[in-house]
């Protein structure tokens, strides 16, 4: 991704306050509801927090909007925003993966599908990690996996609860086995956090499938979902074509999952901050004296370094060159 370097230099700050723009919302002027197929005027939908006024279906929120809807105003500090994909397999389908990434970075204004940082939910400090479906379907590759692990380690180092919001198609196949192994990496970091007594909460939003559901999202202490969210291991089309049967109504929706015992609770978007704050209040006293294996301290040091880094410092790519 050599061609992206000038843009990186042009960025004002590494830990920048995100600016939330309405144009980040997906789709055109009118949007069709996935739940009741009503066509809704977009502006009305945005005013209602992207929740269908008729059937209460919760549309997928872009990462920045999710952060805004969850955290107290002005409390967000983004972390590890620098990390960009490496395309180590030189993967090419219709377009080279590196080019795809570059375009997506430009379109979304963020380096990867996961936004991670610290902030406050109704006054409770947390580490927050949000998967953004606009960035290659919220898929998990090396960077997403690394940032999730770093988020868990930051939570451990700073003794903060960890909150995830997921919307993802699963592992990012452009990164091959490196993607699959992020399932292992994220679970390893969560095992570490959990052994230290840290609390983790995952809110699954529409849609959450594949390698994300089958890894970190499913091993958090608490699993919540937004109403109507599609949640599953395999996508409904794959299942339908495998079993050659029609799928039952409501299959793989949040309500179905809760009925089958897979979710702790379904919570409406407007109630989420309050619910998260309440859950955090119940769970704060569980920290153990736990030495860990040094990762959390390393993450802390990295955070410190990131804070001190002035704009215009050597980019990560240059750092590698220097190290080798």
């Amino acid at each position: 991704m050599a061609s992206s370097k000038p843009e990186e230099e042009a960025k004002p700050s590494r830990i920048s306050r995100l600016r939330f723009k309405k144009k980040d919302m997906p789709g055109g002027l009118w949007m069709k509801c996935e739940g009741c197929t009503t066509t809704i005027y977009r502006k009305e939908l945005e005013e209602k927090g992207m929740v269908c006024p008729k059937c209460r279906f919760h549309f997928t929120l872009p990462g920045p909007a999710r952060i805004q809807a969850t955290l107290d105003d002005g409390s967000w500090t983004e972390l590890f925003a620098d990390l960009t994909s490496l395309d180590r397999l030189n993967f090419v389908d219709s377009v080279p993966y590196a080019e795809k990434i570059e375009r997506t970075v430009k379109r979304t204004g963020q380096n990867e599908a996961l936004l991670c940082g610290t902030g406050e939910i109704q006054g409770r400090p947390v580490v927050l990690a949000v998967l953004d479906f606009r960035f290659l379907g919220g898929s998990m590759g090396e960077v997403v996996g690394e940032k999730i692990a770093l988020a868990a380690e930051t939570a451990q180092a700073q003794r903060l609860p960890l909150v995830f919001f997921t919307s993802s198609g699963g592992a990012r196949m452009h990164e091959g086995m490196l993607s699959l192994m992020q399932m292992a990496k994220t679970c390893s970091a969560l095992a570490e956090l959990s052994d230290a007594g840290g609390l983790s909460i995952c809110v699954m939003t529409n849609p959450t499938t594949g390698g994300v559901t089958a890894s970190f999202a499913s091993v958090c202490d608490l699993t919540l979902a937004e109403p109507g969210a599609l949640i599953g291991f395999a996508g409904p089309r794959v299942i339908a074509s495998t079993i050659r049967q029609e799928l039952p109504p409501g299959f793989q929706r949040a309500e179905f999952l809760m009925e089958k015992g897979q979710l702790d609770a379904i919570v409406s978007r407007e109630d989420l901050p309050g619910m998260l704050a309440k859950l955090i209040d119940y769970g704060t006293a569980s920290w153990q004296e736990y030495a860990g294996r040094g990762r959390a301290n390393a993450a802390l040091k990295l955070l410190e370094d990131e804070r001190q880094k002035a704009p215009g410092d050597s980019s990560p790519e240059q750092a590698v060159d220097g190290a080798s």
């Binding site: 990390l83 490496l86 180590r88 397999l89 219709s94 090396e142 960077v143 996996g145 690394e146 592992a171 196949m173 452009h174 091959g176 086995m177 490196l178 993607s179 699959l180 192994m181 992020q182 399932m183 292992a184 990496k185 679970c187 390893s188 970091a189 969560l190 095992a191 594949g210 390698g211 559901t213 089958a214 890894s215 970190f216 999202a217 499913s218 091993v219 291991f233 395999a234 794959v238 299942i239 079993i243 799928l247 039952p248 299959f251 793989q252 089958k260 015992g261 897979q262 860990g292 294996r293 040094g294 990762r295 301290n297 390393a298 993450a299 040091k301 990295l302 990560p316 750092a319 190290a323």
Partner: protein
């Protein structure tokens, strides 16, 4: 050496056609020698050499897609072959004690050359009936939960664990989703980081995505020479990215799913060599290799104190990906 009576008609194995042709001719020569008592031993020797050459040439230059087909070959040794022919003893333990006994995963107490361990492996059948029973090696949540229960038992009994990965992927079906396929796999991955006993993982055939990883967190992860390990099947990848399910060869190439590349990427620790022409051509030799590899690795892992083992296991998977190199601060440190 098992020899086909007529050339294989499996189109996926077309690249083996020259070898199969010679093998067929050899079987005819041998039959001729037996029935007519003609002395054609020279011709037979020459034909054997021809076969060896053809195997050498074909297998020296296998494409990724060819290799996927070798990994899927119906004659390739599967878990039940190792159990029946390699292990000195095997006591199968059934069931997850919650819901059912998934035939797609076999678990039990095994011994091999004086080493005892818990075997956890995907099971693929050889006959059509067996294949249907085992869902072609695609496990349900109860299979993963059975695996975890037996791994915990191994931990308690002080036995190491050997897992055999051989699955196209976890089963995508209604029941699997209802019973929490994702949660079962995720929990296995997380809990395997906590199991206080050595884990040796060997991909013996197909390493299909999350379904493979669900029993794939090992202190050592090995791959047989012609096995593959991939985030998605080449068919699935081609259908999604190229919108053309037929472009499997390109997808297989792009996914970098072979043992040498995965070793290079730091995902796999070592390769178990296969006999010339693949394990499906010579199961006996494949078994003999495994008879050395499994005890060797178990003996090495047994030397490592369990705390170090667990810490190294987490570190090994935590470090996969180039990012650790980009951020030197993230290299492991002593707890302070």
């Amino acid at each position: 050496m098992s020899r086909p009576k007529k050339p294989d008609t499996n189109p996926a194995m077309a690249f083996e056609r020259p070898i199969q042709e010679f093998e067929f001719q050899l079987s005819e020569l041998e039959e001729l020698a037996e029935t007519t008592h003609l002395d054609i031993s020279e011709e037979i020797v020459a034909m054997r050499q021809k076969i060896a050459m053809a195997i050498h040439e074909t297998y020296a230059d296998l494409s990724a897609w060819d290799q996927v087909n070798v990994a899927r070959h119906p004659d390739r040794p599967v878990a039940s072959d190792y159990i029946a022919q390699l292990f000195d003893d095997f006591v199968e333990l059934h069931g997850d004690k919650m819901y059912g006994d998934d035939a797609a995963i076999v678990t039990g107490l095994a011994s091999l050359n004086g080493r005892r361990f818990m075997l956890v492996g995907h099971r693929k059948g050889r006959t059509t009936k067996e294949r249907l029973e085992t869902n072609f090696g695609c496990a349900h949540p109860e299979g993963y939960r059975k695996a975890l229960r037996k791994m915990r038992l191994a931990e308690k009994m002080g036995l190491p664990i050997v897992t055999f990965i051989n699955t196209p992927g976890a089963y995508p079906g209604i029941g699997a989703e209802e019973r929490g396929q994702s949660a079962a796999i995720a929990e296995n991955i997380l809990e395997m980081f906590r199991i206080k006993t050595p884990i040796l993982t060997i991909v013996i055939g197909e390493g299909g995505s999350g379904g493979a990883l669900g029993i794939g967190i090992g202190d050592r992860v090995l791959m047989m020479q012609y096995a593959y390990y991939s985030v998605i099947s080449p068919e699935g990848c081609a259908a999604i990215l190229w919108k053309d399910g037929a472009r499997t060869a390109e997808a297989a190439e792009a996914l970098k799913l072979t043992a040498p590349t995965l070793i290079e990427l730091g995902i796999v620790d070592g390769m178990v060599p296969e006999p010339p022409g693949g394990a499906h051509r010579d199961r006996e030799t494949a078994m003999q290799t495994m008879a050395r590899v499994i005890p060797d690795h178990l003996d090495e892992l047994a030397q490592i104190p369990v705390d170090e083992l667990l810490s190294a296991r987490r570190e090994k998977f935590r470090r996969i990906g180039a990012l650790a190199d980009r951020f030197p601060v993230l290299t492991p440190q002593e707890p302070s």
